[in-house]
């Protein structure tokens, strides 16, 4: 286990990274800033995803559905009800959580493993169909543009402003998720994955653990959806199809299944890499496919496991001993 000093170092590191990131806009242009903003969104999506498929061990593919629900919720609330976008972020999270609740109701009915995968896939595609065919609300195929809006006198089309907002939301949600994972709840989530029957024998309400995991995953990804809506400025049904699933998978796996640190690493790396692959259009599917296959065979626990070997400060423990 990490020593008290290592724990302090870890805490320092955790806050130093976002603190340093505050200076990042000095080094970026509109394009690189946009990519970085996209990374922050991917971090949240991957985080929510890894919680369910990694920690809880449930094969639920409803991630794109939560993401879409969040994005549409944010777009609809700001475009149709005139709410300030920043207010729609938690609301989108709540609606994403509602999606999580629906997905968990399948898991709690005993629909698990591949069945859960299939039914959640179907759920995601039904949502996409619903966006397409609810034109008055969602704009149908034309999508829904977010209204122009300013905060602190700066237009929300400004990538630097968006960066600071995205960063704040991401740091908050990552920290909250870490708190969660390093509590009795986080242990219970893992316990359910390892042995659901034995978990119940320890006075842990397993159904509630599954329910809350899905809800939190939906909340995080729903918030990410709201960020995405503003990131692109225009929400289309096509952004939430099955095609986007493989990228999410790759991020979860490359980083390390069930690891918060891994979610961050995987999301950052695999959002950046396709930009370097821009010179070779059409290679992305091949590339992601090969990466996932290679990681599965050669490094099933992802990059996080390498870091763990490097230094104990990267070991993620499911308890918290404050120094």
């Amino acid at each position: 286990m990490p020593s008290a000093r290592q724990r302090q170092l870890r805490t320092l590191l955790f806050w130093a990274v976002p603190a340093l990131l505050l200076l990042l806009p000095l080094a970026t242009n509109a394009y690189t800033q946009f990519i970085v903003n996209g990374m922050l969104i991917s971090v949240l999506v991957t985080l929510g995803f890894t919680l369910v498929i990694g920690n809880l061990g449930q094969l639920a593919f409803a991630n794109t559905a939560f993401f879409g629900i969040g994005a549409y919720a944010s777009a609809i609330l700001s475009a149709k009800l005139g709410l300030p976008w920043i207010v729609t972020i938690p609301l989108a999270g709540v609606l994403g959580a509602l999606g999580g609740f629906l997905a968990s109701s399948a898991a709690l009915r005993g629909i698990r493993s591949y069945y859960l995968a299939i039914i959640t896939l179907a759920f995601g595609e039904l949502m996409r169909w619903a966006y397409l065919h609810s034109k008055p609300l969602t704009g149908g195929t034309d999508g829904l543009p977010l209204p122009r809006e300013a905060m602190f006198g700066i237009s929300l089309s400004d990538d630097t402003l968006k960066f600071y907002i995205f960063l704040a939301v991401t740091v908050l949600l990552v920290k909250a998720t870490l708190n969660l994972m390093r509590s009795r709840f986080g242990r219970a989530v893992m316990a359910v994955r390892e042995n659901e029957i034995a978990t119940a024998s320890l006075a842990i309400p397993t159904a509630r653990v599954i329910l809350v995991s899905f809800i939190w995953s939906g909340f995080v990804v729903g918030c990410a959806g709201a960020l995405f809506a503003r990131h692109v400025g225009h929400v289309f049904p096509e952004s939430f199809g099955m095609l986007h699933l493989i990228a999410s998978f790759a991020m979860v796996l490359v980083g390390g299944l069930g690891s918060v640190l891994g979610a961050v690493l995987g999301a950052v790396l695999l959002t950046a890499l396709p930009e370097y692959l821009r010179a070779f259009p059409g290679m992305e599917e091949l590339f992601f496919g090969l990466i996932v296959a290679a990681v599965l065979v050669a490094m099933p626990m992802g990059l996080a496991s390498l870091l763990r070997r490097l230094s104990p400060i990267f070991v993620e423990r499911y308890y918290r001993e404050e120094s």
Binding site: S113, Y114, E285
Partner: protein
Amino acid sequence: MLMQLTLGGFAQGAIYALIALSLTVVYRSTTVVNFGHGDFVMAGAFLSYVLVVLAGIAFLPAAALAMIAMFVLGVLFSKGLIRPIRGGPHIGLALMCISAGYVLRGIARMVWGREVLPMPAVFDMEPIFLGDLVITGDAVFIIGTVLVLLILFFGVLALTDLGKMVQAVYQSPRGARLIGLNVERFNDFSWGIGAALGALGGILVAPVSLLHPDLGASFLIKGFAAMTLGGFGSLGGAVLGGILLGLAEQYAGAYLDSALIEITAYVVIVLVLFIRPQGLFGRKAVVKV
């Protein structure tokens, strides 16, 4: 109109049945659901295209060659990529299948991404008009081929020694291992058969449709829906589920709204899993909590 829809439903359903059957063959022996199967179907269609159009081989031998090639690919996939992670979590296996599918799709896209390819019509027979009912060459060809194949498949399974062995493995892989059967090799073989049968689905679709790298995605979902409807793991159920799904799509499209065709499969999946998770014939599809 009902008769016509029924015929159309059977022709579509025959393809779904084939795909669901091929998924089930793999699932029954290896307990892996191939989430990349749609792309195997696509690969079959593209291979037959390459052989027919580019290499100038006649359709039937080309189809046979494409199936053999896909059989080999299935075996190699099982040996090279599934075996190393067998026994690991389902998530890993599902992801491996998905990524294999993406690789196939990526290859197809690299080579043909910018063209939508036509396949020459195979059964260019004049349609037969029976009163209001039109019977087309395509429909006859698809239904006929699938029917022959199903008879062959279930015949082998029920009547031959090989079939009995296969059924024995389905009953108890451990028992099969005890009597000296090489289960690993049997699994490779199942992957090969699954890939070849799925490829045949693609090959049959190719002449009536057009080829593009995303061809497989919708078939995968149809296959899942058919499997779920028939009962996960039931070979006969997969076939019946496929046919019923084909019919349901046609009826829903014609009598309700054509926008429903696209989501019939999804609705079937959700309803069946919530109301009768074991499907029509399957063992219970739920894990005991």
